[in-house]
């Protein structure tokens, strides 16, 4: 085909030559699914807090859980001025990460992704994709599985509420539950259904499963706190007080529930920190304080520190504060629990 070229706009170039940006020229973008759930709203607020710390503002983007819309926003963003662009992105699903990464690489925009990434996509192969951060889903799924097993005295039936089936988070966490079940032989998985990470869906599914299995249900394992909270409502409506519930994310309502004794355990995912840290890493590289080459291989894709939260330690987590020190260029990798295996 005559007249065809590979690139519409070509500004790509290796980083070494790129002059460091004036801190005032850095453009910070945080992108999550929506502002209508507490976890992601807190994430964006964390980003704002970091931006304020460095005298900038964060551009908040949301794509309403719509993969195509996320891609569309990113490519539109990358079609603008990308010289000192820093993006901290929550890809909707694993499959949404590669095009974002390639787009950023092509346009020379600094990118940090969180949560979702195909296992075989290697961050170190890229110049502008600085880091990928996630929590170890298998570990957290297992941790709350174990906590649940303990709460029901090591034996009895449980039901599992899965997340959106085609996300890595849902799958890893369920794999963690399976590991836990293998270890706790007394615990029996009566049923598993998806409630799509949603509080409302979890309510309905739990009600149905409760009436299906009746008193055999001793515990409910939920792949996130939203679903755990939905399950708690279902239990309340069914008049059941003898069922243990666990979730993941440490959203404020879940922490309150743990304090009240209604819920057994959750695992911390620190939204505000996640919202700030991605921007911080990008900012440090963009301003030249940190060079891509200097980021250790194990810091290109890493598990962030997470804690099992139970009634014992819940008080430590009830008012999460982002610590400005966390975002100093020297500290940005401090919470690493090691490279993603």
């Amino acid at each position: 085909l005559t007249g065809c070229t590979e690139e519409a706009v070509g500004t790509s170039g290796p980083t070494e030559a790129a002059a460091a940006c004036d801190p005032a020229d850095v453009k910070l973008v945080g992108q999550v699914r929506n502002e209508s759930n507490p976890y992601e709203a807190a994430w964006l607020d964390g980003g704002d807090a970091f931006a304020e710390q460095v005298g900038l503002t964060q551009e908040r983007l949301t794509y309403d859980g719509d993969s195509t819309r996320q891609q569309e926003q990113i490519s539109q963003l990358l079609a603008g001025d990308t010289d000192c662009l820093v993006m901290n992105v929550l890809p909707n699903g694993d499959s949404d990460t590669p095009p974002i990464v390639e787009g950023a690489e092509g346009a020379g925009a600094y990118l940090v992704t969180q949560w979702n990434k195909p296992a075989d996509l290697n961050v170190a192969d890229y110049q502008y994709w600085l880091s990928h951060i996630t929590y170890d889903g298998v570990a957290s799924g297992k941790q709350i599985g174990d906590a649940l097993a303990e709460a029901i005295g090591g034996s009895g039936g449980i039901i599992a509420l899965q997340g959106i089936l085609d996300t890595g988070a849902a799958k890893d966490r369920f794999a963690g539950l399976e590991e836990s079940l293998a270890a706790n032989t007394g615990v029996e998985l009566l049923d598993d259904q998806t409630a799509n990470f949603s509080r409302a869906e979890a309510l309905e599914v739990t009600k149905t499963l409760l009436s299906k299995h009746g008193d055999d249900v001793k515990g409910i394992w939920a792949a996130n706190d939203d679903m755990a909270l939905g399950a708690l409502e279902a239990l309340q409506q069914a008049g059941r007080t003898d069922v243990a519930v666990v979730g993941i994310d440490a959203v404020p309502d879940a922490l309150t529930a743990i304090e009240d004794g209604a819920m057994t355990a959750t695992v911390s995912s620190d939204g505000p920190w996640q919202g700030g840290i991605g921007l911080a890493i990008g900012y440090c590289v963009a301003t030249g304080e940190l060079a891509v080459e200097d980021i250790a291989a194990e810091d290109r894709a890493w598990f962030a520190e997470q804690f099992l939260i139970t009634a014992d330690n819940v008080a430590d987590f009830t008012s999460p504060e982002t610590d400005p020190a966390d975002f100093e260029c020297a500290n940005v990798f401090n919470r690493s629990q090691g490279a993603i295996s």
């Binding site: 209508s36 089936l165 149905t208 309340q236 404020p252």
Partner: protein
């Protein structure tokens, strides 16, 4: 140019004048009985009393939403504003009754305000339809977006949890084995049915779906009735949003997610035509039960979560097909 009055059957000559119940009306009920019987045979858990209660409870919110959407469909319009209106009302009520975000404690008044806000949003769809002459498909889609926007603004990043005893009680307390939410739904169906049968708003909504241009020729101004129907539908969605809040103990922006399509499906499965002029609240109530029994039954018999949606879709199509087959006729218009 309006779709022929009775959009399904074009031949206008029918042998005898008809009153009372026809096969068309009983098809969905038969389907409901059949589906219920099949699940009861397949699953012991399904046929327990507690599960039947569970089904009724699970149907409550959908039933209230469907009450509203039925009137809109009866006019031959469509309503996709449910997610936005429910979201806005859910957040509103959560912020007005006793909650963890502010010191409000308006109780019933808060519920009323949320329902009024929802009615106002519904009214907006209707006004845009009659004033701008924009099809309801678009006005309601637009209003849904507006509602979600309003809800997100009110949400402001912190989940409002309700502590209002009355509202929480609706979901938990039971009378005659059914939760109060379920009784609210029953009341809504009865109110809807009365409106449809005894009031001008209801009968005209039905007539608008039958032959809108004829109403004009009879000197009836349809615009206020159209606006009225969308307003009433909005109020039903608003109440449904309040009910979801009662169930979840929290006001969610996503309180109405998915209710748009499931309510329309329930209404259509029950025998309300998308082209208008047929069906009604009781038909839709049957549709709601059918859809809810399906959802519940598939979980009860343990169909894999991957397949659930697909099997449900298949059964809905089969149920509608089975209901339609006895009335199939030549030169029938199916849109």
């Amino acid at each position: 140019m309006a779709p022929p009055a009775d959009a399904e059957v074009v031949t206008s000559r029918r042998p005898r004048a008809r009153r009372g119940v026809s096969l068309r009306d009983t098809g969905p009920s038969i389907a409901l009985v059949v589906v219920f019987a099949v699940f009861a045979a397949l699953s012991p858990g399904f046929r327990t009393l507690s599960n039947v209660q569970n089904i009724m409870d699970a149907a409550a919110v959908l039933a209230v939403v469907t009450c509203g959407v039925t009137f809109v469909l009866m006019m031959g319009s469509i309503d996709l504003s449910t997610p936005g209106i429910m979201g806005a009302s859910a957040i509103t009520v959560a912020l007005l009754v006793a909650n963890n975000r502010n010191d409000n404690d308006l109780g019933m008044l808060g519920v009323a305000v949320a329902v009024l806000l929802a009615a106002a949003l519904g009214c907006l769809s209707g006004l845009a339809l009659v004033a701008l002459k924009v099809p309801s498909f678009m006005t309601t889609l637009g209003v849904s977006a507006v509602g979600l926007g309003v809800a997100t603004l009110l949400f402001a990043g912190v989940q409002p949890n309700i502590t209002d005893e009355m509202l929480e009680g609706w979901a938990v307390e039971r009378t005659l084995g059914l939760s109060h939410l379920t009784w609210i739904a029953v009341a809504c169906v009865l109110v809807g049915w009365s409106v449809q049968r005894w009031t001008r708003l209801g009968r005209y909504a039905y007539a608008i779906g039958g032959a809108e241009e004829v109403l004009g020729l009879s000197g009836v101004k349809v615009a206020p009735f159209k606006v009225g129907v969308f307003t009433m539908a909005g109020a039903f969605y608003g109440l449904a949003g309040v009910m979801v809040t009662s169930q979840l103990g929290a006001g969610l922006v996503q309180a109405g997610k998915g209710y748009d399509f499931s309510a329309i499906t329930a209404a259509v499965v029950g025998g309300t035509l998308l082209s208008g002029g047929r069906g009604g609240v009781l038909h839709s109530a049957v549709g709601v039960l059918l859809v809810t029994v399906l959802t519940n039954g598939l979980v009860q018999v343990g169909v894999s979560p991957y397949w659930q949606g697909g099997v449900q879709g298949l059964i809905v199509v089969a149920a509608v097909a089975a209901a339609v087959i006895p009335q199939r006729r030549r030169n029938q218009v199916t849109k």
